[in-house]
Structure formats: C-alpha cells, structure tokens
Amino acid sequence: MTRAELFFVLAGLLTVLGVARLLLTRDLMTRVLALNVASAGVLMVLVVLALPGDEAEAADPVLHALVLTGIVITVSVTGLAVGLVRRIEADEADEDGGQA
C-alpha cells in the first residue's frame, strides 16, 4: 500500500467517524469535536491529492493554500460553536436551577 493510499483511507475513516458522531450524538460539545475531526479528514484528502507525482515536481500550492484557509475557518467556526454551546448550557443550567 502506498503512502497516498494509506492516508486516503485514513482520511475517509476520519471523515465518516466525525460526520457520523456529529449527526448521531446528543451532546453539544461532542458535536464540536466531531466537526473538527471530520474537517481534519476532509483536509487530509486535499493534502494527499496535492502530493507531487515525482521527485522533480513541487507539491500543489493551490491545494495547500485551500487547506490552510480551511484550518483557519475551522477554528473560527469552533470558536463560534463553543460560544453558542456555553451559552446554551448556561441557560439550561439556569432553568434547572430555577425549577429545582
């Protein structure tokens, strides 16, 4: 198995793991983690596609730039998601505290 094939398979597994967990779990923080894992898998596909064909070529810079952009956008989404999750859980805790 070549390195590219191995990392393709790994990327596919990570993506499916992340997306499945994202859709099927109830816990909000798990969804944030799952989203990050899934995005890592998808970005890994792009990086494997960018591997050069032979010794002389350079790696595909456009795909690398896209992956870099993807990482920064993932962190923005994660920041926003964590803010939302904290706010939701704080409000739920307030409700429970009021009713208890």
Binding site: T2, R3, F7, M29, V37, H64, V82
Partner: protein
C-alpha cells in the same frame, strides 16, 4: 511522492490518529475527550509534515493543537462533566444503525478515494491545472514561496474572505456576552512567581518566533496565519497570567479587530480603482505589499483569535460584573 510506499511510521501514525479520534469522540468524560483532542491536533501536525505540507503542519500545530484546544479546554474546565446521553434503548438502536451506515459510507468513500489516487497526472487546460500554473508563475508574485504566493497574490480573494469570516466569528462571540462588558483585566489572585518567570522568558521568544514566521513566509514555509496564531498564544499567556494590557478592551478593541480586514479591503479597492483590477498586485510592488499586508494580518489574526478565547471565557449567565467605564459599556448601556 505519490508513489512512495508506506513506512512503519506512517502506519503507526494512522493507527494512532484513528485511536485518538475515536477515544476523543466516544469517551464519556469531557475533560478527557478534550485533552485527547489536543493530542489529535499534535498527531495531525506530524501527519501534515509526513505528507509534505510544512506550512499546514505549522498552522495545525499553532491553531489546531493550540488555539482550538485552548478554547475547548477552557469550555470544559469551568463546567466539567459527562456527555449528555440519550435514553439507553434508542441509544443502542442508534449505535447499531450508525455503525452500519458508517461502515457503508466508509467503504464507499474508500473505494472512491482509492480510485482517485490511481489517476496519475493532474488535469486541467493548457499549461496544466491551477497548481502547475501557480508553481510556474511564482516568480511573478513578489515572493519566493509558492503557498504564500497563492494565498496572498494569486488567490488573495479567498484570503480576504477568510479574514472576514474570522472577524464575523469574533463579533458574534462578543455579542454573546449581552450587556456585560468585555473584561478589561483578568480578575486573578496573585500569580506564582514561577508562572511570572515563564511569561517573562517565553513571551519575548514567542514574539521573536512571530516575527520570524511572518518574514520567512516569503521564502520558506511560514506566513501570516501561523505567525498570527503564535501571537495569539503569546497574548493568551499574558492574559492568563494577569498582565492587564495584553488584550485591549476599551476603544481599541474593535479597531484592532477590524484592522486586518480594513487594510486588505483598502488594498483591494486601491488595486481596483488605480491599478490593474481587483487585487491584482503590480509586479514591482508585490513583494513589499505582501509583507506589509501580512504584518497587519498577523496582528489582526492574533488579536481576533485571542478575543474569541477571552469573550468565550467567563460564563455568560452570571450577574454582570462591576461596570467599567469603557466606551463599550457606555454604548451598551445607552442602547438598553
């Protein structure tokens, strides 16, 4: 190279990544899950390096294993707990269905991806695909490193929108605080002297690394995003150790956040009105423009990520802390 055989290291790394990801997603304790996610980020950085993507490895180490993990650890440290679980019967049915569907999806995806890998040369029109064109025309871009050339010259529109996304995320997180002010200074007990020593030693080194990453991005892997993320680390280190001025909270907060995007937009409009077209950098100025833009972007990205962390920090449902007389609080008070 695409035809290289996998090594033992590759195999171990792949197994490690899958294991850490699965554990992070399925273990019941949140704090364990988040720390495992940090380990996942570190292993991903190694994977990027093995796949011949050093810029991405730097960015993943600084952003993924750094800022994201800090955000998550801060979120679970305040309210440690276990995941909320479903009703056990639906949970078992769901996990069976989920595993089956997941297995099918994984198989299909593997089949598609391995088929992709088998195809050899990149496609595209005359002159090769976008990757080949970019590599061939790096000399036109004003910098020597292809990824930086693509990010800040050839595809700078994408980068502009990316900076806008960061800014929107920061503004959204700031609005979650409602009527509370952005905390101007951390309310901490006196800090142990060892932490003080660490900060005094480490922050100058970090700032040096920020400058180095920024400048070296023109020639070798590096650039504004990696430097910005390391700057975030330095700012958060200062903030969490009780240094008051690290993150501006009053009237400098919003200008600081908007500086990067504003500079980028100014450049875009300048090139559109006075130059060759939207974001087409003139060839002799390109190098200097790129470095100047990257500097502002680094400062702005560093501040933005730090603001996202700090604005997420305090629980937002507690009673408002004593109002500071800053412009921010005055404005929110006038609005209500």
């Amino acid at each position: 190279m695409i035809g290289d055989d996998m090594t033992l290291l590759d195999g171990l790394l792949a197994v490690g990544l899958l294991t850490v990801a699965a554990l992070a997603l399925f273990l019941p304790r949140r704090s364990t899950a988040v720390v495992l996610f940090l380990a996942f980020g570190v292993l991903m950085a190694v994977a990027w390096a093995l796949l011949g993507a050093p810029d991405i490895a730097l960015a993943e180490a600084a952003i993924g294993a750094g800022v994201t993990s800090a955000l998550l650890i801060d979120a679970v440290a305040v309210h440690r707990g276990h995941r909320t679980e479903r009703n056990p019967r639906t949970s078992r049915a769901l996990s069976v269905v989920g595993t089956l569907l997941g297995g099918v999806a994984a198989g299909a995806l593997t089949f598609v991806l391995l088929g992709l890998g088998a195809r050899s040369a990149p496609s595209g029109g005359p002159g090769g695909g976008p990757g080949d064109q970019a590599t061939d025309r790096v000399w036109e871009s004003g910098v020597d490193h292809p990824v930086t050339a693509v990010l800040l010259n050839f595809r700078s529109y994408d980068t502009l929108l990316e900076v806008a996304v960061l800014l929107v995320a920061a503004l959204a997180v700031l609005t979650f605080r409602g009527n509370e002010t952005f905390p101007a200074a951390p309310t901490l007990p006196p800090v142990p002297s060892l932490l003080d020593l660490l900060v005094r030693t480490l922050v100058p080194v970090l700032l040096l690394v920020v400058g180095w990453l920024l400048v070296s991005g023109s020639v070798q892997p590096g650039g504004a995003f990696q430097a910005g993320a390391v700057l975030t680390g330095a700012l958060l280190l200062l903030r969490l150790s009780g240094w008051p001025g690290a993150i501006p909270a009053g009237r400098w907060l919003r200008p600081g956040l908007a500086a990067g995007l504003t500079a980028f937009l100014a450049l875009a409009y300048a090139t559109a009105l006075l130059g060759d077209g939207w974001l087409s950098l003139p060839a002799d100025w390109a190098g200097a423009l790129i470095v100047a833009l990257e500097t502002l972007l680094t400062l702005s990205i560093g501040l933005t990520l730090a603001v996202i962390f700090v604005a997420n920090q305090e629980p937002t449902h507690t009673s408002p802390r004593p109002q500071r007389t800053s412009a921010l609080s005055a404005r929110t008070r006038r609005r209500t």
